[in-house]
């Protein structure tokens, strides 16, 4: 076998050096790309989170407006508050061009997005309903959101009364408080009763009512009520302020247990 003299055998050296240089160029290019990528300013394009935040802000706005209206405020406050929110959101959207509009629903039973029904059948509703239409145009994508936002506080009332002594009766009520159809807690109850036979239309506030909170949106209320004549029919009324500050009222004719 012929011995190779490596000192004199120079064939292919240029190719080896070239290959190494190409590899070095590739390597340095890769490192350069990695390093420069670190300093690229990025824009968060996760629109889902942003839309969720806007929906939450709209929900809060509806709660605020409903709390205001049910406590004696002007119903036009809903539109004013929504305009204020829209202005705040669009002026602070830096990542995209944002177009949004709130439309208070006019479909029955709502009027300008508000429905307040404090009935005599034991059910009371305070509700606000708007549709939110939003269009976001960013540098790389366009997103569109259309959704309905509904805030409803409800109180369901049932009751009976028992004659204690003469015209003095013990009234027992069961009150269920709901927010968006789910059990919710109340902040405060104010209770009234009326002797239906006297038909004076004067409601008397119940003094020192006993209220038992079952913790699941159900309350048992008990108080004493004086009627003009023993056995007179009795009406009861509950004014309930829920945890969100929304007032809901409901009246019911109590069942006489004898």
């Amino acid at each position: 076998m012929k011995n190779r003299n490596l000192k004199r055998d120079n064939s292919g050296q240029v190719i080896v050096i070239t290959a190494l240089m190409v590899a070095m160029v590739l390597l340095s290019t890769a490192i350069f790309v990695i390093e420069t990528e670190k300093d690229v300013p990025t824009v968060d394009t996760d629109t889902n989170n942003v839309f969720q935040a806007y929906q939450q802000a709209a929900r809060n706005t509806l709660i605020s407006a409903l709390a205001n209206i049910t406590n004696g405020g002007n119903p036009s406050v809903l539109t004013a508050d929504l305009n204020e929110l829209e202005s705040a959101i669009t002026s602070h959207s830096y990542n995209s061009i944002l177009q949004m509009s709130f439309t208070p629903t006019g479909e029955a039973p709502y009027q300008n997005g508000v429905w307040i029904s404090w009935g005599t059948n034991g059910q009371g509703f305070s509700s606000a309903y708007v549709t939110l239409d939003m269009n976001s145009t960013g540098t790389s994508s366009t997103s569109n959101l259309e959704c309905a936002i509904n805030i409803t506080s409800e109180v369901d009332l049932s009751g009976n009364y028992l004659q204690i002594n003469g015209a003095l009766n013990q009234v027992n009520l069961t009150v269920n408080v709901l927010n968006e159809g789910k059990p919710a807690l109340a902040q405060k109850f104010t209770l009234y009763y009326e002797d239906a036979a006297s038909s004076t239309g004067n409601w008397t506030q119940a003094t020192s009512p006993s209220i038992t909170d079952f913790g699941n949106g159900t309350y048992a209320v008990s108080f004493n009520a004086q009627t003009q004549q023993p056995g007179d029919p009795l009406l009861a009324s509950v004014h309930c302020l829920d945890q969100r500050g929304i007032l809901i009222c409901a009246n019911v004719t109590c069942t006489n247990l004898g």
């Binding site: 190494l20 190409v22 590739l26 990528e37 809060n60 709390a67 500050g245």
Partner: protein, 142 residues
């Protein structure tokens, strides 16, 4: 034809290709560094989620309404991992700063800071809109 017959250096050429392949495979085996785009995206998402969860029952606006900056700081601190630095600034609608002292968990520890603006509406009958700017940074990032 002469070049085709000239077999000198063929083994060296193969050696060179093998060396290149070796280098390239070493390069491929270097663990991929976490992209700054991903980390800032995650931090921005974290910031949004923290504010959104605090705002879900109106708690966030109540804290701002009451100017309860200590509770606000504690709430955000408990919602974030220990390795995340934060600084919250509360503005009114006219971009006037409301918090009288910094709501943060120390000095900034990184040059890479993510900032998220959050529009917070109050649930109280006296309607107010606040702009919350939450800055986050991962401790230990470049």
């Amino acid at each position: 034809m002469k070049l085709l017959k000239d077999k000198k250096g063929v083994v060296r050429v193969i050696e060179a290709f093998l060396a290149s392949l070796l280098l390239m495979s070493c390069l491929a085996m270097i663990p991929a560094q976490p992209s700054s785009r991903d980390s800032t995206g995650n931090l921005a998402s974290t910031a949004q989620n923290v504010l959104l969860s605090l705002d879900s029952n109106g708690h966030l606006a109540t804290l701002v309404n009451n100017q309860d900056w200590t509770d606000l700081k504690n709430s955000i601190e408990s919602a974030l991992p220990l390795t995340v630095w934060f600084n919250l600034t509360v503005f009114d609608e006219n971009m006037h700063v409301l918090n009288v002292f910094p709501i943060c968990n120390g000095g900034a520890v990184s040059n890479s800071i993510v900032s998220v603006d959050y529009v917070c509406a109050s649930q109280s009958s006296t309607y107010t809109v606040y702009i919350l700017q939450l800055q986050l940074s991962q401790v230990g990032s470049k």
